[in-house]
C-alpha cells in the first residue's frame, strides 16, 4: 500500500510523517513519534487506555486512522504538563491516589481533562462517572478517580486557590 503524508500537531509541536494509511492514530503516536504514555489494552475499542484529545475532544486512539487527523491538534498525556507544572487533573490524581498500576492512567487523565473542559461544573458525581464510562480500570474501582475530578471541578487547583 502506498504511504501517505501526514501533517499534524501533537502537544504544541508540528510533525510530519510518511506512513502506511492503515496506521492507527495510537500507533503513529507510540511507534512513530515515541509518545509511549498512551497505551493499548484491547482490540475492540472497549478499554479506553489509548484515549487522547483530538482538537480538544476525547478520542480512542485505536478507533481512528492517523491520516484521519491530518491537520488537527492532538494532545497526549505528555502534553498536559506545561513548563514543568502539572495539569490540575494530574495534581488531583496524585493527591487522591487515583491510580494504582497506572496502565489506564494516561487514557483516564485525558478523558478526565476532556470531560472537565466540556463540563467544568458537573452537577453530581454520576455525571463525572458517565464522563469516564469509556475508560476501564481494573485496579482502583474508579471512586478515587471520581474524587480527583470532583476536586478539580470544585476549584481546589485553581491558580491562587
Amino acid at each position: 500500500m502506498e504511504k501517505q503524508l501526514l501533517r499534524f500537531n501533537v502537544n504544541d509541536q508540528e510533525y510530519e510523517l510518511f506512513i502506511n494509511p492503515k496506521t492507527l492514530l495510537v500507533e503513529a503516536l507510540r511507534d512513530h513519534l515515541g509518545f509511549a504514555g498512551t497505551k493499548r489494552g484491547c482490540d475492540t475499542a472497549s478499554c479506553g487506555v489509548c484515549t487522547v484529545m483530538v482538537n480538544g475532544m476525547a478520542v480512542k486512539g485505536c478507533s481512528v486512522l492517523a491520516v484521519q487527523v491530518n491537520g488537527m491538534n492532538i494532545t497526549t498525556v505528555e502534553g498536559l504538563e506545561k513548563d514543568g507544572k502539572l495539569d490540575p487533573v494530574q495534581a488531583a490524581f496524585l493527591d487522591e491516589g487515583a491510580y494504582q498500576c497506572g496502565f489506564c492512567t494516561s487514557g483516564m487523565i485525558m478523558s478526565a481533562r476532556a470531560f472537565l473542559n466540556e463540563t467544568p461544573a458537573p452537577k453530581d458525581a454520576m455525571e463525572i462517572r458517565r464522563g469516564i464510562e469509556g475508560n476501564l480500570c481494573r485496579c482502583t474501582g474508579y471512586n478515587s478517580i471520581v474524587r480527583a475530578i470532583d476536586a478539580v471541578a470544585k476549584g481546589k487547583y485553581r491558580e491562587g486557590a
Partner: protein, 761 residues
Amino acid sequence: MTANKYSVLNTRVHNVDGYAKVTGRATYTFDVKLPGMLYGKILRSPHPHARIISIDPTEALKLPGVKAVVTGKDTLGVKQGIWRRYPELCDEQILTIEKVRYIGEPVAAVAAITEEIAEQALDLIDVLYEVLPFVDDPMEAIKKEAPMIHEGVERNVNVTRHIEWGDVEEAFEEAEYVREDWFKLGGQAHMCMETRATVASYTSDKKLTVYTSTQSPYYHQALLAGVLGLRESDIRVIAHYVGGGFGGKFELDASQFCASVLSMKLSKPVKIVFTREEDFIATKRRTPMFYYVRTGVKKDGTFCAREARVFTNGGAYTGMGATALYLTGFFHSFPYKWKAYRYDGYRVYTNSLPSSSMRGFGAPQAMFCSEQQIDWIAADLGLDMIEIRRKNAHTTGYEVPGQATIGSCGLGQCLDRIEEWIKARGTLPKNRAIGISAAGFMTGGIFNWFDSPYSFSSAVVTINYDGVVELHVGAQDIGQGSNTTLAMICAEALGVKLENIKVHSGDTDHCPADLGAWGSRQTLMAGNAVKMAAEDAKKQLLEFASAKFGYNIIYDLDIKDNWVHNVARPERGMHYADLVKEALRGKDGQRIIGRGHYTPHRKGMISPAYSYMVQAVEAEIDAETGKLSIIHCTTAHDCGQPINTLGLIGQLEGAASMAVGYGCLENMPVEDGKVMNPNLVDYKIIRAPNMPECEIIEIDTFEPEGPYGAKEAGEGLTNPTAAALGNAIFHATGLRMKQAPIMPEMIVNAFKEKKKEGGTP
C-alpha cells in the same frame, strides 16, 4: 479514631511512583523497545485435546522478515510448574511436545521483523493433529470412560486435600438443626489492563535479560533457569512498572518462555505481547468449583459441625491450583469457631484453560457458600444475622485446630460497627436490602512450595552522604503500592522523612530475592525485612550520636522527623543529615548499610497473621429484568495497623470492584473447551457509573507478627462481596442464589420457580 502516633505511617502521601504514572513516563514491558528487536507471535492449538503428529515450519520460514520458528522440540522439554517442591505437580511444558490439552495451548512460536509478519507466518506453519476425544466438564472428566488428560493420572484427579478437626459425626449428632446446600462457582479472568508481555534478550555470553510484566521477578528468574538450562544468576528479570497482576502473573507464561527460547536461538531481543483475546483464552483463571456444604448448629445459633466437599475444575495444567484447593477449604471455616470441621477437596483436570490463582485464592468461592448458608440458617431459625456470627466469631488467641493461631482479631468490633451502620440506614424501599458477609484472610503463606533457598523477603538500606536512603527490596510493586508502603515503613523505622527514601525494586540484578506479590504477603513479610534493615542502619548511626553526645548510659537516643535526639529531652539533638556526614567520616568514607530479612517460622499451616472484615452490601433488585443495582458497600476492616492510607482505600475500593464482578458481572462460559467471550465487549467488567460508593470503617488491632502491627489488606477484601450481594438478594426477595456470578437470567428464573412452587425455594 485515636491520634496518629506515627510520623509517616497512616498518612496520606503521594505514591512514590505517582509522578511517573500521571505524566505518562512510566515504562511498562509493553513499552520496552531494544535495538534490533524482533516481534514474536504464538501459534495456538485450535483443539481442546489432540496429539501433535508433526509441525512443518518450512513455508513460514520462507516468508520475508521471518527469522525463526520454534516448537517444543527446540526446547529442553522440561515439565515445569510453580510447585517446584512436588515434581508430580510440575506438568506443563508450555510449548507442548506430544499433546495439546486446551484450546489456545502454544505449539509453536515465530520471531519476525514486524508483528504483522509474525502474525502472517502463523498461518503458514503446518501442524498435523490427531484429534482426541476431549472432556471439559469435571463431572464427566472423572468418569471411568473419560479420556485421560495427563498420563498416569487416574480419573483426571490430580490433587486431593483434606482438612479435619474434631469428631464431625458426633458434632452433627449434637446439632439441633442441619442444613445442606450445593453451589456452583464460576471462574474469572484477571483482566489486567496490561496483557502478558515480555521482551527477552539473550546474548552469546550466555546471559539472558528479560523484561516482563510480573508479580515476582525472582520466581521468573528461577523458573526460566529451570526450563532453559541457564544459571539463575545469568538471568536478569526487570519489571519496573507492571500493569496489574491479581494473581495471574507469577507463574511462567508463554510470553516469557517463547520470547526467551526465540531470543536464545537468534541472540536478538524478541518481544511478545499477548492480544486481549490471548490473555482471556490462554492464561490461568480463577478456579471454578462445585461446593457441597452441610452445616449443623444448635437452635440458639451455636455452630457445631460442618462438612464440605469440593470439586474444582482444574483445567489442563496445575499451576497454583493445589494452593487454591487447600485455601478454599481452610477459609471455608473462616472466621468462625467450629467444634468439628471436615473438608475434602478434589482437583480435576479438564481440557479447558488452566485454573490457578486469582485475588482471594479460593476464598471468595468459599465465602459465597458459607456466608449465604449462614444467613439461610439464621432465617430458618429466626435468628439475627449479626448475632449468629457474633456468637461463633474468631477471637484473638484462638487456635484453629492443627492449622493456625490467631494473633490478632478485630472481628467482634467489625460486627458491632456494621450492626450500627445497618441500623442507621433505617427502613429501605421495596426490593432493596442489605446483605452482609464476614471474612478473614491470610497475610502471606508459610509453606515453601517453590522450594526457595532464600529468605522469603529481604531488604538492604544504604545511607548516602546527603541523607538519602537507597532502599533495595525484592518485593514487587504491581500497582498495590508496595514501593510506597515499604518506603513509609523504612522512613518510620529510621526516623526520617519520606522524601529521603529512594526505592529500588523490580530488577533481579540489583535487588535481593523476594517471593513477590501474591497471597497478600508483602506488607508483612517485606515490611518486616525493611523494618529490620532500617533499624539496623539506625542503630549504627546512633552509635556515632552516642559517642558524640556522651550522655549518661541511661538515656536513649532516637531519630524522628529527621531529628536525632535524646528521648527524655527531645530538644537536645542534631539534624539527621549532619549525623550521616559525621558517621560517614567515622567509617572512613563507608556508607552505613543495614540488612533485614523475614521468613515465617512455626506459624502454623497457612499464614503468620490474618486480617478480618465484615462487609455490608446494599443492593436493589429489579424483579422484571433481574438486574442488580449496588447502591452502597461498607466494610469494617481490621488490617492491624494501616500503613499506606491512600493505598488502603485503593485496595478496598479496587477489591470491591473486582469482587462485585465475581458476584454479578463477570460470567466466563466455556463450551466444548472454548472461552465464549474472550473480549472486553462480551466479558463485562464494572464501569464507573455502576460502581457503588464504598465506605471503610477502620478497626485497629495490633498484629504482633506484622511491622507496626500491620497485616494484609487487598486480597481479603475480595472475599466477602459476592456473598454479601447474595445475602442482599435473599433479604430483599427470599431467593437463594446458589451460583456465582449471579446473572440477571438466574434471578428472573428463580422468581419464576418461586411463583411455581408458591413459596420459598
